[in-house]
């Protein structure tokens, strides 16, 4: 049976209206509702289903970030993960830790935990990078099945149906492998109160990137974050002549 590692990221809740900070350094996160990245919920759900089918022996949920990330781990545990690992990165350094750094952390943890399968969300809804799963596989030199909409595990072999631009692509991977979860892979379960209570007793280990020998300073710096331009109201014209003259005015005709 496979040992599964699942990555969960704490992001601004998808239903929240994002506002840019006045100094354009980023988006407002103070006092804003945060929750688990939706694609990560799907990843956790898939891991739990593997365990329910007795194809996985243990599910370890991993998160990288400040103290608040523990809430996200608890949700993963309440959904059915067995234990958690919190890789503590202080809030001010989080912005600098990009997919490359995170992938190195996951790679090291996979080796330490002797994982056979890593399931990640295909992308986080704040960064939208869609790089971590791919980079993790590259660092480990493992097979990868990204944008998974279907997953079948038989012994040592993983069949992944991928959602690609042209349609669906089926690939067969030899374990160990990294999979990134896409929207249609499954519908995640909600955490129930009895499970939330049980999750409080599950083990959560706290470590730092240094313990894994990973440097988290990225060579990418965010210079500015701005709103997209405000959509302006259209105007109504009274006649085709007016329409043509307005089009000419704006140089479109």
């Amino acid at each position: 049976m496979a040992r599964v590692l699942v990555g969960v990221k704490r992001v601004i809740d998808y239903a929240v209206k994002i506002r840019v900070k006045p100094d354009k350094s980023g988006v407002v996160t103070e006092g804003v509702k945060h929750s688990m990245n939706p694609f990560d919920e799907i990843a956790v759900e898939e891991a739990i289903r593997l365990k329910e089918k007795k194809l996985a022996s243990e599910i370890v949920a991993v998160t990288c970030g400040p103290t608040q990330n523990q809430e996200t781990l608890r949700t993963a545990l309440a959904m059915g993960a067995d234990r958690g690992i919190h890789v503590e990165i202080p809030a001010d350094q989080c912005a600098k830790a990009g997919p490359l750094q995170i992938s190195k952390i996951f790679a090291k943890l996979a080796e330490q935990e002797k994982a056979d399968l890593i399931i990640l969300g295909k992308q986080a809804i704040d960064g939208d990078n869609n790089q971590t799963a791919q980079m993790t596989a590259a660092v480990l030199d493992w097979a990868q099945g990204t944008f998974a909409s279907e997953l079948k595990l038989e012994g040592d072999e993983l069949t992944v149906v991928r959602e690609v631009d042209g349609g669906l692509e089926t690939v067969k991977l030899k374990m160990p492998a990294v999979v990134s979860a896409d929207l249609r892979l499954n519908e995640p379960r909600y955490a129930t109160l009895p499970n939330i209570m049980k999750a409080k007793k599950k083990k959560v280990a706290k470590i730092s990137p240094k313990d894994l020998g990973v440097e988290i300073a990225s060579s990418i710096e965010v210079v500015e974050v701005t709103d997209p331009p405000q959509r302006e109201a259209g105007i109504k014209v009274e006649s085709t002549e007016e329409l043509v003259s307005k089009l000419k005015e704006s140089g479109l005709v």
């Binding site: 929750s35 809430e71 949700t75 499954n186 519908e187 955490a191 109160l193 499970n195 939330i196």
Partner: protein, 489 residues
């Protein structure tokens, strides 16, 4: 003549709505300008609309009840703004209709006279969530699905599920119910407190400010008075509701029966055994056939029960064993299971899409839904009678029901342009409702009275009941400005 008699009965309603429809589609007059400026001064220029497009968005709901178009639409951003709008309208004798998601089934938001529309959905805060007490406060812009999404990490949910993604305050206004009522109750059992704005602008907390008690014997039950009042007594600007724990285990299954009576008997026996079944929904053969085609399912075409069990792991397994035994005794088939979350969602979506599935069988048609609710012991009789009436009238309909509550819907498919068919439908619906009333039931289990069932309300309640209702209405809204011509005259 028969047609003459029918016109006399329904004619005045037709005439009034046609007339007001012509009136409100006129262009802007100085009167409209003054109204618009006054309302803009209260809610802000951006939040008041006089354009025909905006007003037409607010002149209909899911029913095909016709009427006029509001003179103006406003989107207040706070209960104080709602109060100021009400004060202004009161002073100037202007009717007001509250508007949420427009998903009502009885024409509750359709103007029947010159009126403005007050769209409350800009107020969309979720506040005062109390995890240990299982309650939360929501404003009209919060729909039940968005609330459940917001709560998903807490282990709590709001189970009242009428199908549509309706505004929770709107659900309170219509006394909504749904597939989960058999286990979790309707809005009536789940509203703890309401913040209401009366016609004269008074802001009222029906159970008292900040109250959120599970039970109370303090004074008259004003909260229940406003639940189901369909906007005729005031604006609901905030609702404090009961939440429930998400069940540890959820199992859903489908079971078919030789006849509707067998399915109903199974339901009665399940309830007699005190099995805490979460959902028990009946779909007749005609509906199942449509559902199979529309939602790409493969259920046997026969009277069918869609079932859902909530509880602990062991609890649900026990419930399933008990219910399958009872079903088998009544000729029920083997259960076919929806085990994953996706399969369950698909099943219940198919149930909620019954309406669209039936409409798809006759493109271009509309649907009229009856909504009678009778004691479960006479449910088979009521359903059989309804089918006979519809067959005699040559009407096409599917029957679906919340059998556990004795509430069923005949979804009658009709051509809205065919006046004769419309009148036939109205007559059939009246007969079905009258029989339900005779059997000790109600003409409307969950949709409300709205425009079309005012006469039935009189038969159901009797003169004394109507008289008391009228005095309450006159006390709270003496000028009859709140959603006039709905529920009671």
């Amino acid at each position: 003549s028969k047609l003459g008699k029918m016109l006399k009965k329904f004619g005045s309603e037709f005439l009034r709505t046609r007339f007001s429809s012509i009136l409100s589609k006129r262009g802007r007059s100085s009167g409209t300008d003054k109204l618009h400026s006054a309302l803009s001064a209260i809610v802000g220029e951006k939040n008041a609309a006089w354009s025909l497009a905006a007003r037409e968005q607010h002149n209909h709901d899911e029913s095909f009840h016709a009427g006029g178009t509001p003179e103006n639409c406003v989107w207040p951003n706070s209960v104080e703004e709602v109060s100021e709008v009400a004060k202004f309208c009161s002073k100037n004798h202007i009717s007001m209709i509250p508007f949420g998601t427009g998903t009502g089934m009885e024409g509750g938001v359709v103007p029947q006279n010159k009126t403005i529309c007050v769209n409350l959905t800009n107020m969309d805060r979720i506040s005062d969530l109390n995890l240990e007490d299982f309650d939360v406060k929501v404003q009209p812009g919060v729909t039940r699905k968005s609330l459940n999404r917001e709560l998903r990490d807490t282990g709590l949910w709001f189970p009242v599920d009428p199908g549509a993604d309706a505004s929770i305050c709107g659900m309170a206004a219509t006394g909504a119910s749904g597939t989960n009522a058999i286990r979790y109750g309707t809005m009536k059992q789940n509203v703890l407190n309401l913040e209401v704005v009366l016609a004269d602008g008074t802001i009222l907390n029906t159970a008292g400010p900040k109250r959120r008690c599970r039970k109370s014997s303090a004074g008259y039950n004003l909260t229940d008075l406003f639940v189901g009042s369909e906007g005729t007594l005031g604006f609901i600007t905030s609702t404090t509701i009961r939440l429930h724990g998400i069940p540890e285990s959820t199992l859903a299954a489908v079971c078919s029966f030789p006849t509707v009576a067998d399915a109903v008997n199974t339901t009665i026996q399940v309830l007699q055994c005190s099995i805490p079944i979460a959902r028990i929904e009946l779909l007749d053969s005609f509906t199942i056939d449509a559902v199979n085609k529309y939602s790409s399912l493969e259920n046997k075409v026969a009277p069918t029960l869609f079932l859902e069990f909530h509880g602990s792991q062991k609890g649900t397994e026990e419930q399933v064993d008990q219910v399958s035994e009872i079903a088998t005794l009544n000729g029920g088939s083997e259960f076919s299971w929806a085990s994953t979350t996706e399969e369950r969602s698909q099943l219940w979506q198919a149930r909620h899409d019954c309406l669209y599935a039936l409409l798809a069988q006759r493109p271009g048609s509309k649907c009229y839904s009856t909504d009678v609710c009778v004691p479960v012991s006479v449910l088979s009789e009521a359903i059989q009678y309804s089918k006979d009436v519809l067959d005699d009238s040559g009407l096409t309909a599917g029957t679906v029901g919340h059998v556990g509550d004795g509430n069923f819907h005949c979804l009658i498919i009709l051509d809205p342009g065919n006046e004769k068919e419309l009148l036939g439908v109205k007559m059939a619906a009246d007969m079905i409702a009258k029989r339900a009333i005779d059997l000790g039931g109600t003409c409307t289990g969950e949709h409300g009275i709205g425009i079309g069932k005012k006469e039935l309300l009189k038969s159901e309640l009797g003169a004394e009941g109507i008289s008391v209702m009228r005095s309450i209405k006159n006390t709270l809204d003496p000028l009859n400005l709140m959603n006039p011509y709905k529920v009671i005259e």
